[in-house]
């Protein structure tokens, strides 16, 4: 699954650690999601979308 997490985070000038704190996950988890090595669970995906005030499909898109 593709995602825009790195771009969204950069727009807000947040570090991975700051984003991880807001999501209550580890920095490793944020890093793995950004590098598209790990697809988050549905609850975490919703939490991410809510944090950025976006719809979930504006953050995550399925592979073509």
């Amino acid at each position: 699954m593709k995602n825009r997490l790195r771009v969204l985070r950069a727009e807000r000038d947040w570090s991975q650690a700051e984003l991880a704190d807001q999501l209550s996950v580890s920095r490793q988890t944020v890093n793995a999601i950004e590098n598209e090595r790990y697809d988050p669970s549905l609850p975490l995906a919703f939490t991410i979308a809510k944090l950025f005030r976006l719809r979930i499909e504006d953050v995550f898109t399925p592979d073509a």
Partner: protein, 192 residues
């Protein structure tokens, strides 16, 4: 802004606390065992030296516990697996060994500590984040597969191999779990 794998110092990685805990538990176990199996204790005439060794041993084990607690507090749960393996191998909780006194107390205490450690580890894992839980699930799955394979191989050569001891099986499973965790962590956290 960072994007690569997280970099840690020796202390942040947990290696330092792991080393402190291993030295504490091994040294403490050796001192305490030496004290309770001393000939003067066996004959009911414990000396001040015996008591000093016992207190030093218990203090060392306490220090090992503090180091393990530090690892847990920092969320470095994976270090608890090799730590448990080292403690199982060297202290063999539940096994009195060559002790001539306090055999039952030593055995029951060891089993109680083992049970407490398993319960605490399960509780910590439930509180960790979803990727960490996934890494441990895949690591434990690897250990289970390894255990089944190793058991079948052992059965094939049973007559030519030494008698299998329970502590060895537990240690092998813990080490396999940790190895599986490390391999899985590398797959998720590092860009190829």
């Amino acid at each position: 802004m960072e994007s690569g794998p997280p970099r840690h110092s020796l202390a942040e990685s947990g290696a330092l606390w792991f080393a402190v805990s291993v030295v504490g538990s091994v040294g403490g176990g050796w001192l305490a065992r030496g004290a309770v199996s001393s000939p003067t204790v066996v004959t009911g005439a414990a000396t001040a030296g015996d008591w000093a060794r016992l207190v030093a041993g218990l203090a060392s084990i306490f220090l090992a516990g503090v180091a393990a607690w530090k690892l847990a507090r920092a969320g470095l749960y994976s270090w608890l697996l090799p730590l448990a393996a080292v403690n199982l191998l060297l202290l063999q909780p539940g096994r009195a060994g060559d002790l001539r006194t306090w055999r039952l107390e030593w055995g029951v205490m060891g089993l109680a500590w083992t049970l407490a450690a398993v319960l605490v580890f399960a509780r910590l894992l439930r509180r960790s984040d979803e990727l960490e839980r996934r890494l441990h699930l895949e690591g434990a799955s690897f250990a289970l597969a390894f255990g089944v394979l190793a058991a079948v191989v052992y059965a094939l050569f049973e007559n030519r191999l030494p008698e299998l001891r329970g502590a060895w099986v537990a240690v092998a499973l813990l080490v396999a779990w940790w190895a599986g965790y490390l391999v899985t962590a590398r797959r998720y956290r590092w860009r190829a």
